[in-house]
Amino acid sequence: MDDAWVLPALPIAGFVILLLFSPWLPRKGDWLAIGLMGVAFLLVLVIGRDVQNAIGDGNFHGVERSWEWSNIPGAIEIRMGTFVDQITLVMLFCVTLVATLMMIYSTSYMHGDRRYGWFFAIVSLFVASMLTLVLADNLLLLYFAWELVGLCSMLLIGYYNDKQSAGEAAKKAFITTRIGDVGLLIGIIILFTQTGTFNIQHILEMAEAGDINSKWLAGAAICMFAGACGKSAQFPLHVWLPDAMEGPTPVSALIHAATMVVAGVYLVARMLPLFEQVDGMMELITIIGLITTLGAAFIGLAQRDIKRVVAYSTLNSLGLMMVALGSGAVGAAMLYLFVHSFFKASLFLASGSVIHATEQQEVDKLGGLWGKMPITAPVFVIGAAAMAGVIPLSGFWAKDEILAGLYHGPINQAALVLVLMSLPITALYMTRVVLLTFFGEPKDHHVFEHAHESPPLMTGPIAILSVLTVIGGFVIFEGVGEALGFHSGWLGFVYNLAEGPEEFHVVWWLSIFSVVSVTASILAGYWIWGGAAEPSKRAGAFSPFFYRMFLNRFYIDELYQLIIDKIVLAAGQMVAWFDRAVVNDSGVNGTGEVTDFAAKLAKYHQTGKLPNYALGVVIGVVVITIVAFGYRT
């Protein structure tokens, strides 16, 4: 546990070796990257056992180990190090597991790609950055890793660099998250000026003790939450995430499930004791989460691209995690993150398998693939059901816990009502995409004829993820936790350190409502899209206006484009005009013209006539003499 720095060091070693020597290694070195990642995963299990033993000893508040990084004696000392507690452990587990499986999957999916070695190198760096991010014991190191994650996501989203749309999606992801990153940096600077340290635990202690000026604390909290919004694709910075699927599908799985978007959730969970000290901050987090989760659910109803639907389901889930954090239910949020990484990775990798087999992403061209893809199809269906919250899959338990957390939490119960409203919508669009892709009659026979099941290297990882999707939620039960070697269930393990462990309890009417509404919604979905070859837009007939709104993502991208065109570019033109008219024409040319004019005036004293010059000399001598005598007397 003290040597947790090894975890990011392994994939970084993989990155360096692959970057330098990949072309000369057998299979371009993919085995090396996967092997190092697998070792990292096993080490996480070892760390998990250590953490478990440490908790057994009683009062466990995380293990920190740091090295001096920069020291100006008497002024400032900055230390870098690792910090391991339960939240870190959950993140480490998700990241290394999903990354390992995703890389195994990629050996088949990316087979024969011209930049195969580069792909594995960048994925290694990506995972290493994410591991550093969750292990960092101070905000400065966290910020470095945060930016590295952003960089790697850009490189991977723009991986198909001969595609115009991929390059634009990469830029969009980078710039959008960058807006939030600036906020995070400002927040870190504010906290540093107020506390004199970057150490997260020290800052949290000072915040809880009320040692930080409340106005600065509020500013820092809002700025850091802006960073989390950018990375975790919360409204209004969510626009990059759906476009991020321009990258290879395994990368989408990695970004959506493990390495990128959960960074924001992790940051909020980690800094939650600080956020709780700010009035209205938890409400803000909840409201942003609610807007994201509901908006994404509606948009998901109308999208026609299988990956895009799954991408919006990620937004839906991330919003839900933020809502849970807003009500202080860290355990529930982390449980959702935990199971989400399984079912979202399996959904993405399964849809990647569909795309690999059919080379089609439009649900209107798919259909009837159930028989053709005997492993991919059930995996996708299980993932979708978990996403929808079907009992007893993992998604259900996590959602149930979030509902209970909201019910018992300090937040207004209107939030609970809104979350309950989002459940059937989620179930409806997951039903829709499953029915349109795998059931009914094939809509495009040419595509259908060529469809085939993917090779075992692709179906194997998604099968493992699928199994975890089914059983992952059971860790909520104390008996299961004990059977796995823990002292109690999930909520006894991951909790808000300031408030102590939460009790696992079921709010019966909430659970029953959730089961009933999800079931009803799935039946409704079957009624709408269950026909032989229904088009994806069948539900649009109910309300063309809302269908258009959902299909066009509430026109938010268009709104941003409008803002950029009308305000940013207009301001740019103003600046350009100022530069031309004032700086260049007046400032630069003006100086030259004034000098030229003065010279034209002054030239007339050069008459060329000798007596004039002589007279000048005489007058000069006389004047100087008079002045000199005037001074002497």
Partner: protein, 108 residues
Amino acid sequence: METVSQSIPLENFIVLSSIVFSIGVYGVLARRNAVMILMSVELMLNAVSINMVAFAVYTAPSLFVGIIFAIFVITIAAAEVGLALAIVLRVFKNRGTANVDEIDTLKW
């Protein structure tokens, strides 16, 4: 034996040199012929020389600084006149005139 410094007061020399110098200045400003201007310049130089010799004799007769300076001025004036007349000659050969009002190409 009565010396000059005892019989003639210093003021007389100064007045003389002032008159000669002023005539020289007037000549430089008023004449149009380059040779006449040169002659006026010579008058100014001589006025200065008179001044220096007179002051040397009246204030520090044992030192010869002023007199030596006067000899320097005479020497350099001789060289300068030679040079200046050569220039005037060349100008006259070039332009057919020594009138300084007509030699005014060095203007804007």
